[in-house]
């Protein structure tokens, strides 16, 4: 049985490889294979998979590439993820990608669709518009038609028909993937010393880069290894991280939080892995099933609309309760409108529930971790103190 270290080492090398060798090799293994990239936060990977293509998560360049050309495409007051993504394209690191999906998350990602349409006219670049109206007859109908269009596009791109049967197989695989990730998060919430935040992060991130079949095996073995591993339990406080759903923090930031005495017991990294709160139905019309799951079982995040005022921010309060966390750390990418506009409303919900929090901003290439570490350390200390005195 592989150890957690061995598994995480594999994930780490996948994460560090910005030439995406694993995906390139997957593509090269058989003629006519195609790769479709996607950006945060959610796309129906099942459809890409059912067409025989590889869904590949493009989550920016992190702190590992120097953005040179990408900066010429963006003003200083725009976040980092689009510029490093452009850099990945311009430096040919993504030259093997045949298509890209840009979900409707914010105006920056939205406009990136058009930029890629101009920069890579040979590539399929699709804006993936999710309904903000969750009524089956209204947003649902629109969404089903959008999914059908996507299905048709993927059939053209891949040259493969997407049968209902194939789509059901994909749904089963991704349901399993979500189930495993859920198990991982439950384990971490219960015994956070067994699943360090950086490991959970790297393991989830590997799911953006590997075929789902491989990722399922990887997560299964990690959970098994982590459960039986003997790791020391520290006197850390438990926190939920909020705001990192798009531009990803540098790995060092996550490490710093742990070193500062925080166990991360829930987070919104790579929400795509956990988007559906319930399994997608594995029977009946698979497109309808994907649409219904999206409309009625999507997770909540800053990038979506909350139709009911009383529910605003309750998802975060719930996350704290469910994971047994003692506080929330808001960490948002600089210049991120969805995360930063949402924050005051979330903070109000936490205030009402008596949950302590701190907030800071980061960029994917932030280098200086000392201030964050100090802030998080003070927060952890105050929680412990407050907890003991309570």
């Amino acid at each position: 049985m592989a150890t957690t270290d061995q598994i995480i080492q594999r994930c780490q090398s996948l994460f560090e490889d910005l030439h995406f060798t694993a995906a390139r090799e997957w593509k090269a293994a058989e003629p006519d294979r195609k790769v479709v990239g996607f950006m945060p936060i959610y796309v129906p990977r099942e459809l890409i998979h059912a067409a025989g293509m590889l869904p590949l998560g493009i989550f920016g360049g992190g702190d590992q590439i120097e953005v040179i050309q990408g900066d010429a495409y963006y003003q200083s007051y725009i976040c980092r993820i689009p510029r490093s993504t452009i850099e990945l394209f311009l430096t040919k690191r993504l030259d093997f990608v045949d298509g890209m999906l840009f979900p409707s998350i914010c105006d920056v990602i939205r406009n990136l669709t058009g930029m890629l349409q101009l920069i890579r006219p040979d590539m399929y670049a699709h804006y993936y518009d999710m309904p903000q109206n969750y009524d089956d007859r209204v947003g649902g109908e629109f969404y089903v038609n959008e999914l059908q269009e996507l299905r048709h596009d993927f059939e053209n791109l891949s040259g493969n028909e997407i049968t209902d049967a194939a789509l059901r197989v994909s749904i089963v695989l991704f349901n399993r993937n979500r189930e495993l990730i859920k198990e991982l998060y439950i384990l971490r919430a219960a015994e956070p010393w067994k699943v360090p935040a950086t490991e959970a992060y790297l393991l989830s991130r590997a799911g953006m880069l590997l075929p789902v079949e491989d990722h399922n095996v990887l997560v299964e073995s990690y959970i098994k290894a982590a459960r039986s591993a003997d790791r020391p339990r520290r006197d850390n406080c438990k926190i939920v991280l909020s705001g990192m759903f798009c531009e990803q923090p540098p790995l060092n930031l996550i490490k710093s939080l742990e070193l500062a005495g925080c166990y991360v017991v829930d987070d919104d990294f790579m929400l795509i892995n956990r988007w559906m709160q319930e399994p997608v139905s594995e029977t009946g019309d698979p497109i309808e099933a994907l649409a219904r799951a999206f409309l009625h079982h999507s997770t909540k995040t800053s990038a979506t609309y909350e139709p009911i005022e009383a529910d605003k921010g309750q998802y975060l309060v719930e996350a704290v309760r469910k994971s047994g966390a003692e506080g929330v750390i808001f960490a948002a990418p600089s210049f991120c409108d969805p995360a930063l506009l949402e924050r005051p409303m979330l903070q109000d919900a936490l205030n009402a529930a008596g949950i302590p929090y701190i907030a800071f901003k980061y960029a994917e290439n932030s280098g200086q971790m000392q201030p964050i570490r100090e802030q998080a350390g003070t927060f952890a200390d105050s929680i412990k103190l407050w907890g003991e005195n309570a």
Binding site: L118, Y305, P307
Partner: protein, 432 residues
Amino acid sequence: MTTVATKKIDLREAQKDQSMEKQKEMIAGNFTRLARAPQTGEKVSYTFVPGNINELVMCFDMVGNFPEINALQMGMRKKSGNFIFDAERAGHSEDVCTYVKTDLGMVYNGNIGPTGERLPEPDILLLSYTGCFTFLKWFELLRHQYKCPTVMLHVPYQGGGKITENMRKYVVKQLKEEVIPTLERISGVKFDIDRLREYLRESARAEDDLVWVLQTARHKPSPIDAYFGGVYYVGPIFSAFRGTRDATEYYRLLRAEIQARIDAGLGPVTPEGNMGEEKYRLVVEGPPNYTNLREFWKMFYDDGAVVVASSYTKVGGVYDFGFRHDPEHPLESLADYCLGCYTNMNLPQRVDMLVNYINDYEADGLLINSIKSCNSFSAGQLLMMREVEKRTGKPAAFVETDLVDPRYFSAANVKNRLESYFQMVDQKRRAA
């Protein structure tokens, strides 16, 4: 010579007297209606400019408030800086859109509108979510403040560069299933489609005249400035007046005045009178800066630069490529209107439009005013600039300001940029 000069001054006065006065009256009237709403019992809707469905709102006898317009008015009155500061002190990030913060700052300070009268609380937040994600959060924040009902109209983005039947159907369905029933419930007024048709007919009349006015910039010299003057010209049609007789009348007056300027061979009116010789014809992309609008404009007209077409005057509706509100297809045409607003178009479409303007209006080049607040406009503009340059062979320039945050208007920087740009245009001409 003397005669001509006198004639010029008279004409400027005439312009002030008629269309401008008319617009002032209309705006003041709407603010008064808003201020009196608590007494008159009129129901108040708050909504956004892009994708506003004013004709429909009018069917329910509601009075409309436009937070974006309040924010820009506060910018022009130099009050936005303090409001932004107050919003930031209350916990809103320095990074986010300053329209939102100006509005919130205004709310925190008693919601006293631009005319000094208190604005009423909304009976309904009509979230016309067109062309900008920030709208979603903005109205969630207002709802958080007012605890009032909200109804959303989600307008899909033209990611593939066209309006599809699925998009149109989705918008119409939301109008039928969500928006109309909610407005009926809030207002107590039953929806009457014939009333809507009547308003749409009126809209189309005003739209014809607006387009006529905007296209007069093809003349040399252009009788209008389609950016600095343009922001005033689009005022009525972008806000609470589209579909009203007042708007039709406003555009009729404006059209007559511009016709008179053409007949007299005059250029645009500026805050300092008639513009001198037209030396540069520009297309501008992006919203203006409102805190220093006059100063910004002066940098143009002092150097003989006139804006012959702008994208900003299309955020509240693109009419110059043929679209008109259509009383025969009322809900569908409202849907097409919303779907067609400028910031709901994808980047290749926006590039096409700017290229088209440069060619059609025989412009010397493109100027982008990139707005710090506005990701919807700004993300991608540097690439757009290069594309437009490549396709037209005309020089482009890039300046950075903000809509209403005075901290981001550096007059010296903007002026330097503009001057080197004008020199570039000169060089290009000499080389040609």
